[in-house]
């Protein structure tokens, strides 16, 4: 390995979207299927240029977002690390296949660069209106991982994280960005792959006759060989037993669905990433994510300058919701403010976990403009 250390980490001036591309390639993404949509197209264009030049990279523009996710699922079954990126309208089209990916436990990364909605909405303006859709958009009970990123450097790191979680937990991972994060250009460091933790899905260690593709294991995550490697099995969106065959037997159905929940929920401590800023002695707390967390960071600094004990939790993981961290903040602060570019989607979660020790205030903005530090600071001063 050390012989390879010829080059060093690079510094580049990049868009958030380009940082996603860098992160994906570092994580070992070798398949991208997508359909263009503002404000995510730069991710697609970056992959179109870069992937064919990598060792075995495949890029394909599909006929719509359903097809894009379908192709990613196929490639994931074939053993690839896969990614697609879209925005609201495309994300809505993908919902059925997100559930399919959950059901067949196909690792994949889906980036949704959120824009104003509903419908075609505000194509070039930022929003955070797809948060609950990311959690609950597909039909049926399911568990899923939803991440976000605050700035351009973060776009790179959270993309790597998204791939790692997808592989480690055999699940689709949704990375929610907003138009501002994706279209901000700033200087970032692109690390070397060998300096990062890069995870790969577990491979079976047993002979094919013994392999059960959806077997209950301690971690709840069965190994997943690529198609064509001698482990022939059946994959279906129908509720299936541990061989992958459709079943309607209550005990098998319950076992299958519970494992799909458990494999993610029991590792909450690994999955829930938060960035805490001055929360230790905070009396007024802020919970934010995405580009809003940047404004919130500044607002907290300014509040401290004015002698107000403010603190911020920047949620990098949105789901499973980082309950422990937020509950801690709610216990310490008399007021917790949740600014977001929607009518109140994460604030619902914050209120849900509030032990009654704090008042939860919301700042909501849906006019296609960012929430400014000033807006948040005003709220902190009142809080």
């Amino acid at each position: 390995m050390s012989a390879k250390r010829k080059t060093a980490a690079r510094e580049i001036f990049a868009l958030g979207a380009e940082a996603v591309v860098e992160g994906a390639l570092l994580a070992g993404c070798s398949f991208y299927g997508g359909y263009p949509i503002t404000p995510s197209s730069e991710i697609m264009e970056g992959m179109a240029e870069r992937l064919p030049r990598t060792e075995d990279g495949v890029f394909i523009q599909m006929e719509d977002e359903i097809a894009s996710l379908g192709a990613c699922i196929g490639a994931s079954l074939a053993g690839r690390k896969v990614m697609t990126a879209t925005s609201g309208p495309g994300f809505s089209l993908m919902q059925e296949l997100i559930g399919y990916a959950c059901m067949i436990e196909a690792p994949l990364v889906l980036v949704n660069v959120m824009r104003g909605g509903p419908s075609t909405g505000l194509p070039t303006s930022p929003a955070q209106g797809d948060v609950q859709q990311a959690r609950w958009g597909t039909h049926g009970d399911h568990s899923i991982i939803v991440l976000s990123a605050t700035d351009v450097q973060d776009c790179l790191h959270m993309t790597v994280k998204a791939f790692n979680f997808a592989e480690k937990y055999r699940t689709p991972v949704i990375l929610l960005l907003d138009e501002v994060t994706a279209h901000t250009r700033e200087k970032i460091t692109v690390p070397l792959a060998q300096d990062l933790e890069i995870l790969y899905r577990l491979q079976p260690s047993m002979p094919p006759e013994w392999y059960k593709p959806f077997e209950e294991t301690v971690r709840g995550v069965p190994p997943m060989p690529p198609l064509g490697s001698g482990y022939r099995f059946h994959v279906t969106g129908l509720t299936h037993d541990d061989h992958g065959y459709p079943t309607q037997k209550p005990d098998e159905v319950v076992a299958a669905i519970s494992r799909q929940f458990r494999k993610i929920d029991q590792f909450f401590f690994d999955i829930q990433i938060t960035d805490e800023f001055l929360t230790g002695d905070a009396e007024v707390g802020v919970v934010a994510y995405g580009s809003v967390a940047r404004s919130a960071h500044l607002a907290v600094e300014q509040a401290r300058e004015r002698g107000i004990k403010a603190g911020l939790i920047d949620l990098k993981t949105l789901f499973p919701f980082p309950r422990a961290a937020v509950e801690g903040l709610l216990r310490r602060c008399r007021t917790v403010i949740v600014p977001e570019m929607n009518m109140g989607q994460i604030s619902r979660e914050v209120k849900r976990v509030n032990p009654g020790t704090s008042t939860v205030w919301t700042i909501n903005r849906v006019d296609g403009h960012i929430i400014t530090p000033k807006q948040i600071l005003e709220s902190i001063r009142k809080g």
Binding site: S30, F31, G33, P52, R53, V58, I60, M62, E63, D64, I66, A67, S68, L69, G70, A71, C72, I73, G74, A75, S76, L77, A78, G79, R80, V82, E96, L97, Y100, P226, L227, G228, S229, G230, R232, F233, H234, V235, T236, G237, L238, H243, Y245, P246
Partner: protein, 275 residues
């Protein structure tokens, strides 16, 4: 003939419950036999076959056979198959879909997969109806036919799958029936080795949901009809045009050899690698 069934049994998953779920006389089972014989005749290892199925009675055949089998969601089998083929171009990726799956809900994917000329073997089991959901009309239900959603007769024209696939740009386009099994075996074998998008439209009786309601007394009646109606394309072309009504040409309609998408992609990558 004993080897025929014995061979099929070698490819079935014996940990699955048989008989399979399909109705008595459903033509989908005959196609499954044809597919197994064809893969075997070509000596393709089971490991190298990915069988991607849509949703419908047609999609249910996949679970019974010992390949790498993927039962996708309704209409999207071709998208999943496209991902597999691009990720593993050496695999034989076979798609089994119903008429509804392929050209009603999945029509957009179908025309684009054909246009891309990606190396998939696509078997469309056309029974002119939505079998699984109880006999609603599909884009293949013939004009005037009864279905639960066209109780006064189908008013819309149906798709001609062959012409549609030809127009979209596929390399290999053919039609067979489950009655003419030897021809069908031949078509499936050809489709399996033909580079690029290769279609076999397979006419197959669904007595339960289509035949019964459209003046066929028994499954056997439907096979009698297929036997009479279908004729080799070459003979059909020689027919007087006004004698063609009610006759269905079967055989190979398009036999082109343009490079498949995955081949073009590999060539582009090779060029890039050289700098």
């Amino acid at each position: 003939m004993a080897e025929v069934t014995q061979l099929i049994h070698e490819y079935l998953r014996h940990d699955k419950k048989f008989p399979h779920v399909l109705c008595p006389g459903c033509g989908h089972g005959i196609l499954l036999g044809s597919l197994i014989r064809s893969v075997h005749a070509l000596g393709i290892p089971k490991d190298d076959v990915a069988l991607v199925a849509g949703i419908g009675c047609s999609g249910r055949v996949a679970v019974y056979v010992d390949f790498n089998t993927v039962h996708a969601v309704h209409g999207r089998a071709l998208t999943v198959a496209t991902g597999i083929k691009m990720a593993k171009p050496d695999m034989h990726v076979i798609v089994v879909q119903g008429d509804g799956d392929a050209l009603s809900i999945g029509g957009n994917h179908f025309i684009h997969a054909a246009r891309r000329n990606i190396g998939l073997t696509v078997l469309v089991l056309n029974n002119f109806i939505y079998g699984m959901t109880g006999g609603q009309c599909s884009s293949a239900t013939p004009l005037g036919c009864w279905s639960t959603t066209t109780p006064y007769g189908q008013m819309e024209k149906s798709f001609d799958f062959v012409e549609m696939t030809r127009a979209a740009g596929a390399n290999f386009v053919s039609r067979g029936t489950v009655f003419h099994v030897k021809t069908l075996d031949k078509l499936v074998r050809q489709a399996l080795v033909h580079p690029g998008f290769s279609l076999v439209e397979v006419l197959t009786p669904c007595h339960t949901q289509f035949g019964r309601k459209n003046k066929f007394k028994s499954p056997v009646d439907m096979y009698q009809w297929l036997k009479k109606a279908a004729m080799p394309l070459e003979a059909y072309e020689k027919l007087d045009p006004d004698k063609r009504a009610g006759r269905i040409p079967i055989g190979v309609f398009v036999d082109n050899h343009e490079p498949a998408l995955e081949t073009r992609y590999a060539a582009m990558r090779a060029k890039l690698a050289k700098g």
